[in-house]
Symmetry: D2
Subunit: 335 residues, 4 copies
């Protein structure tokens, strides 16, 4: 079968590789759509924990093509979205339901062969059957949505909370919609690019603010007291650092964007104490795929409009370059 | 001024009474709109704790007409919605932030003169200024919305919860909208009347089910495993009792409807244990008016379409009879 | 090896049966101590979902005697306490972290061969290594403690909550200690028997009250406003039913005791609403074994004093009869 | 009457000033004991928001000496502990139950005349009657305990959490006890001084570690994976900053100590994200005095042993110098 192989950092080939066979408890999925995410860029750049060569791809949907021994509840032809999480289920963290911190943590497409390929082998238990209501493009967006659902569990937003989203990329557009349907009152979104802010308006932002030198003043205007919830969805340390000044007393600041591994920000500890601030990390998916499927199936979140570009497998590198640019929103590959 | 006076149970007069003067810390509000609620029916019927004669009316909005001594932050002409809660602030329960269980509990229109009158005197701190975006009809719906916000605090709904609302009166339509914007996945509504179920569809129900003998079968069809959240919004004991069978393991059943004081239901305690069920009461407003104002201002909830009938003060009794009938939704009086 | 076999309801034999061999991912544990619990009585009586013949026993500790293929992290000679829960990990409920409602729910000693035997075969992942600080008698009490920890997760007790424990059997003594160390202020315990109430005093009850006709008056004296938390630890429907009247506004009532399957209680729904009451079930263990081990290891709970009687395997039926009597507290069998 | 007057930063006089008279809703309390806290040191140093001259003192107990108009529920001779919080009850924050962020925030002894005086005038509603079981010295420790209770509400500690307390001053000793009775498993305490660590052992620490260059290694030994909860109780920015490295995945780091107003610490945002860390501020008292009274009355916390030194009013400055030294724990003044 054809697959994207990252031979080593910065070296990608589209190659013929053997089609996988399902072992016991596994199925092989014929990939229909697979999204590109920041982690793929890190795998390409060599700044992630992966071993090379690797077939990346962890945001995907497809059709069950072969079923291994002892698998019940799935059959050939089932349309599925796949939770890429590989938790051991036995270590200290897994027993505490903190699988995303598993001592043997792995993920399909990050530590094992992923879905930028015609076929991918996955544990049957990672598959969630999706209905005809959802396209494969939507199915491939359930994985990032499940990250946001974990973020929501961490946040515990309350009715009428006001929200500031820093950044207006695809992850922010998911946050925007989930919070829109999460009883937030005001939701303000910032970004460097007006084009992305237009998208934010369409997805339901109350206000949008360009991230230039006038940003602070504009944010004071739209919400003089600050926000109950501020979420960094850029992964830029300085943006998160500046986020502190927009948090209300008793408010929450979430580090959702993935900052560089050895970056640092400067924080005023008196302010944390004095304003009763809560700062929260949110790491990937932690048993939240099921809820993401339900939100997608119920049509609570509009996933379809999030996909701006679709490329064939052969154009993986172009897809990689397109993702994260201002002209794009979510970029997917259809193998 | 003209006012509705319940002289004694079942005896109402529209009378001239002295216009109130604001004391220190108080304002007088010229009432623009005041909704009718189940409690008004109980006051009329004599089945509430009120003393007679009483001017009822606790769901209201209007304009500040006079300002008492020592009031800052409010001035004549301000458009306001009013939290009717009168908590003493000093008793055991108030100190625990359980003001809705205050030892000296009172409420404007329940224990003191209310808003089915041209003017009503209220503590300044109970007034919330509302913007021009909100009509007075909408302003008068913030009070019931604040009850639902308290219910939401009690519920702690989680992303993707499925919901069953029993009853499709105005309170249920508020619940429906708040949960729709509260990340519920599926929301199913039941009622005796198809006309009210149509309203439920328009407010965003996923499914509606007529409360006849086929109800149980239909509910099993739309949600074979039951629901994460079941809320009784009828106040009918048998309806709440039947609600148990629709609750999923780890699900929640809320008694929001107000059942008769000495009613009883039969509950299987093994089931509560075995299914890890949570049953929750939710009593009126408990410091949740602010959030309701914010939800209304943000336009998260469509309050305008909830008002089906408006009557002048003189037709109070007709208004009372219209409220709660299948042809009506929220009924308001414009004094 | 020797084992207790319930051939069919009410028929028990102590028999020679084949010693189990560990399959892949499994270990065989040489049982050191196994407690008797209400479920064992139900298995004996034929009122539990078990299939017969069955070797019961699910509250146990022992020493790893044989290790199956692919097991890492455990070796012969390890002292272990064992979580009896058998969750499939793949069904709708397991994916939602509600394993105690697993569609294929099972438990060692309830649905598969248990620990009233010299040896028992268990999945390696169910074993928790315990230190020399804990005796085997204590190790065998971690299972019931893990039930209480799940109850604590459900309860979310807050600092200074006052508590009423109905019943003073071994489960109540665990609750008492955990709540004593859970920032409860006042903890009152009731029971039919003065001897058990003496134990309650020793385990740290603030007050004890005999469950006779003077009970209600006495409870009003010790806590005129009622309690923030009331827990039924008797399993007697009438006791749970009466529990309502001792719950404070905003208080919680927990159904922890296991009432008969088809029992019913009468509940006033107006009171639930009007007092903002929360009623909670709590079903067995739900990923809470780890925390129970840590509480035991830290010495937060005194498990040792809970064991009142110890019998050899041969006297299983005497052990069964002794458990639950007023003269006893926890009864264990040492195979 | 005699009173401590801070005339201006660093200038204190013991003077005769007029004895206060209670206004409506107020009482005058004859002060029995008043503790010294970090804020008093800041008021003395001029680094707090107070206006001068000021009588400081906010941790106190005493006897009601005079009762103002309209006060019910209190009478001369009542022994009381006093919540110093002065929240307006009407501003944006008060309406959201965030009184500790009140727009008109004040506190007895911080912004109005306090309790380092023979008599102090306070709103009746701030008084909590205490029983004979509690000495006045204990009564004066309820205020700091109420700060810890607010911290507990922010923390939401779970059964079996492991805890690291940085610093072993009086506030840490309160935390230690509350967490000891809050189902923590392991509680480790650090301090510069062995003498304070001895106190920590006596109050129930599982382990104590001297804060020298071997600290990190020692902490890794006692808890290789880190801690579920790390609380800075020193107020030293570098200590809080170093706290990050001891937090487990999904763990919580609390900034309880009050760092200098314009200090800063360096934080790795990748780590917050990657470890799902929660960082929490906790600011003073927020409607938590009642619970602190109940914990004190129930004897859950040993307050008596916390008082190391007692001075007469005349020796206020010596008291101030003694507080915070290694030889002392809580220092009180008995006017
Ligand atoms: N926590 C999790 O579980 C999780 C899961 C998935 C993704 N993530 C992270 O979430 C972040 C967002 O992902 P994404 O796919 O939406 O990425 P993205 O497309 O790169 O979006 C980030 C957006 O932030 C904008 N931005 C940059 N600097 C800004 C500033 N100063 N102010 C305002 N906006 C600014 C970017 O504009 P430019 O394009 O011009 O820079 C871009 O539009 C990434 O860090 C990703 O790694 C986290
Ligand atoms: N907890 C609180 O804080 C709070 C606050 C406000 C109101 N409430 C209570 O909430 C409840 C609803 O208020 P509302 O103003 O919406 O009242 P409503 O207009 O009377 O609505 C109740 C609805 O339930 C329907 N119903 C009756 N029996 C039913 C059944 N067997 N199955 C399904 N539906 C059935 C009613 O139909 P019919 O008209 O034909 O009976 C009606 O449409 C009342 O009990 C009210 O007192 C509670
Ligand atoms: N939820 C869970 O996960 C879970 C886990 C384990 C056990 N349980 C259940 O918890 C309950 C307690 O277990 P246990 O082992 O402690 O049982 P137990 O030894 O039978 O204790 C129950 C105690 O309640 C007393 N009692 C009976 N009627 C009473 C009354 N009217 N007022 C006050 N006390 C009364 C009993 O006295 P007599 O002996 O005279 O009747 C007995 O001392 C059982 O129902 C058990 O099935 C639940
Ligand atoms: N959040 C709130 O609501 C609240 C309420 C009350 C108090 N506080 C704050 O809580 C903190 C503690 O109060 P306290 O009265 O207990 O003060 P304290 O007596 O000064 O105690 C602080 C302790 O930390 C020790 N320490 C200093 N550097 C250390 C290090 N590197 N490692 C370990 N320990 C170190 C100190 O030793 P040395 O004495 O040698 O420096 C001292 O024993 C203060 O910052 C206070 O302002 C906060
Ligand atoms: Zn693991
Ligand atoms: Zn009150
Ligand atoms: Zn399962
Ligand atoms: Zn205020």
């Amino acid at each position: 079968m054809r697959a994207v192989v990252v031979e080593q950092p910065k070296t990608v080939a589209i190659k013929d590789v053997p089609k996988p066979e399902p072992g016991p408890g596994e199925v092989v999925v014929q990939v229909a759509a697979c999204g590109i995410c920041g982690t793929d860029k890190n795998i390409y750049a060599g700044t992630f924990l992966s071993h090379y060569p690797l077939i990346p791809g962890h945001e995907f949907s497809g059709v069950v093509a072969a079923v291994g021994q002892g698998v019940s509840g799935l059959r050939e032809g089932d349309r599925v979205a796949v939770d890429p999480s590989l938790f051991c289920g036995e270590c200290y963290y897994c027993r505490r339901l903190q699988g995303n911190h598993c001592e043997r943590w792995g993920a399909i497409g990050d530590t094992t062969s992923g879905a930028f390929a015609e076929y991918v082998k996955v544990p049957a238990r990672n598959c969630y059957v999706i209905s005809e209501r959802l396209s494969f493009a939507e199915g491939a967006l359930i994985e990032p949505l499940a990250c946001v659902v974990w973020g929501m569990k961490r946040l515990q937003a309350q009715p009428a909370d006001s929200v500031l989203l820093l950044g207006a990329g695809p992850m922010s557009m998911l946050w925007l919609q989930v919070l829109r349907h999460g009883n937030a009152s005001q939701i303000v979104v910032t970004d460097l690019y007006p084009s992305r802010l237009e998208a934010a308006r369409e997805f339901g932002a109350s206000d949008v603010v360009v991230a230039d030198e006038s940003q602070e003043e504009r944010l004071r205007e739209v919400s003089p007291r600050g926000f109950d919830i501020v979420i960094d969805v850029t992964g830029v340390p300085k943006v998160l650092e500046a986020g502190f000044k927009y948090v209300k007393p008793m408010g929450k600041l979430m580090a959702f964007g993935v900052c560089p591994m050895n970056s640092s920000i400067s924080v005023n500890p008196f302010e944390i104490y004095n304003k009763d601030i809560t700062i929260l990390g949110s790491m990937a998916i932690n048993y939240t795929f099921e809820q993401a499927v339900e939100l997608a199936e119920a049509g609570v979140v509009d996933l379809r409009s999030l996909v701006s570009h679709t490329f064939p497998l052969e154009e993986f590198e172009r897809a990689l370059q397109t993702a994260g640019t201002q002209a794009s929103m979510k970029v997917q590959v259809n193998p």
